[in-house]
Amino acid sequence: MTKAGLLQIEGAGKTYRGGTQALSGIDLEIGRGEFVSLVGPSGCGKSTLLRLMAGLLSPSAGTLSWAGGARPEAGFVFQDATLMPWADVFSNVHLPLKLKGISAEDARARIMAALSRVGLGEAAHAMPRALSGGMRMRVSITRALVMEPTVLFMDEPFAALDELTREKLDDDLLTLWNEQGWTVIFVTHSVYEAVYLSERVLIMNETGRLEADMPIEGGFPRGQAFRDSQLFFEQVKKVSAALRGRSAP
């Protein structure tokens, strides 16, 4: 791995209060600026691992250590857009800044720039319910990015969208990642999406363990040409096989 370490996880496990053991024996290192995807069958603990890394859950075993001590500035994107329905697009994006004590006035230029970048400059004062699913997801991503986070956690962010919208948002995300150099941890159940986006794909199995850690070849920036390439298909096949190899009984 060429990128310097950002997060080191050793022997992490999580057992929920009800007794469900969602994760066990997770050893993992995430490099600064990496794009890592996490795939695995439903219920295998992907969301749990993501929330553990984000500090929204505490591990019941093992340790997480961030380079520099504490978790750096982070953004989180959930499967549904999770916007505040009572606030317009601008205020929703303003939220992380507001919680840090930055007023709407001081943040205006920054928020408008971030919204324009994802094509939502015109929609700044629309209410979430007036937006399409794809637009709502863009707002959610913009909200996660407006703080200029060091690390971005995404939990199946585009799963509810149609194929075309999803590909468009995947491309937007990659472009932004290329420009900004955040670390992205991306949960998905689509092997195609994982291979297309990532430098590395982590595969989890039903027992809540990491099954494989596969580097993905193919330079950036990626686009339609990569989606159509032989290299892409080869790697999708490889990851699928690794995933099936364990999830089929």
């Binding site: 929330r51 984000a54 500090g55 929204l56 982070a74 989180f76 959930f78 549904d80 999770t82 505040m84 329905p85 009572w86 606030a87 939220l95 992380p96 507001k98 919680l99 840090k100 209410m127 979430p128 319910r129 703080m147």
Partner: protein
């Protein structure tokens, strides 16, 4: 749905109940006259209107007295109900310790507590007693709705606030209260009506000229067999209730219009 059909549907929404009401009043008027019913059994609507006009001074003054108690109790219930719910939302221990007592207050019939409250507060302080009783009746729906609302915050949004290191105060004002607003408002709609009922019941129990609200006018008119006046007071009471309901519906619409499902008509 086209513009004309939706606006005619709105018109129908007003016209239909109005028509039913007018037909009913007409039938009533006709029945009373045709049967020659005596006024102290069932006065005709025209006689009730007449009584309303001739007694306007005392009746409207009484309506004002009742309205004052109702509004004060309602405001008190709103402030204390939401306030207590916020307190509960901050501490499970406090909630567990006190919620049962709120329930006890709610299930005890107000008529049964009224004499006690009157004695405690003193008969020279009847308005305060009325206020307390109406508050007891109006308080619980706001409390329980607010508690529910404050709890029903989206889990992911709550996590987001946590991720960004929001303080308790920021989470309360920026997330919990806005999320609870629809629940609080529907609690207020129930409580508005209950505050009026509470005020009237309390007046009935206090009785004997100690209070001068509409309920007392009804008792007084009943004792003197002034049935048209009694009906007139009843009409005023209903109008008060309707006005309160409309005012609160309007408030709800104004506050939720921009975002909440219940207040927005989606084009379809």
């Amino acid at each position: 749905m086209s513009f004309s059909s939706s606006s005619s549907a709105r018109l129908l929404g007003w016209a239909l109940p109005l028509l039913v009401g007018l037909l009913f009043l007409g039938a009533w008027e006709w029945a009373v006259r045709a049967q020659g019913l005596p006024e102290f059994i069932l006065p005709a609507p025209s006689r009730i209107g007449e009584a309303l006009v001739t007694n306007a001074g005392s009746l409207f003054l009484s309506a004002w007295v009742t309205l004052k108690v109702t509004l004060a109790a309602f405001l008190l219930a709103t402030v204390s109900g939401v306030g207590l719910a916020v307190l509960f939302s901050q501490s499970r221990v406090v909630e567990t310790a006190f919620f049962p007592y709120a329930v006890i207050l709610q299930v005890t019939p107000v008529v049964a507590i009224a004499p006690l409250i009157l004695i405690w507060v003193g008969l020279d302080n009847v308005e305060l007693a009325l206020l307390i009783l109406a508050w007891i009746v109006a308080f619980f729906p706001i409390l329980s709705n607010s508690v529910l609302g404050l709890r029903s915050v989206d889990h992911n949004l709550r996590d987001l606030f946590r991720l960004y290191g929001a303080s308790r105060w920021q989470t309360l004002t920026g997330l919990q209260l806005p999320a609870a607003l629809p629940h609080i408002l529907s609690g207020m709609k129930v409580s508005g009506g209950l505050a009026l009922i509470g005020a009237v019941v309390a007046e009935f129990v206090a009785g004997s000229g100690a209070s001068t609200g509409l309920a007392w006018r009804i008792i007084e008119a009943g004792n003197r067999l002034q049935i048209p006046k009694m009906f007139a007071a009843l009409v005023l009471l209903s109008l008060l209730g309707i006005a309160i309901f409309f005012a609160l519906s309007l408030l709800e619409y104004a506050l939720l219009r921009r975002w909440h499902e219940s207040a927005v008509k989606r084009e379809s």
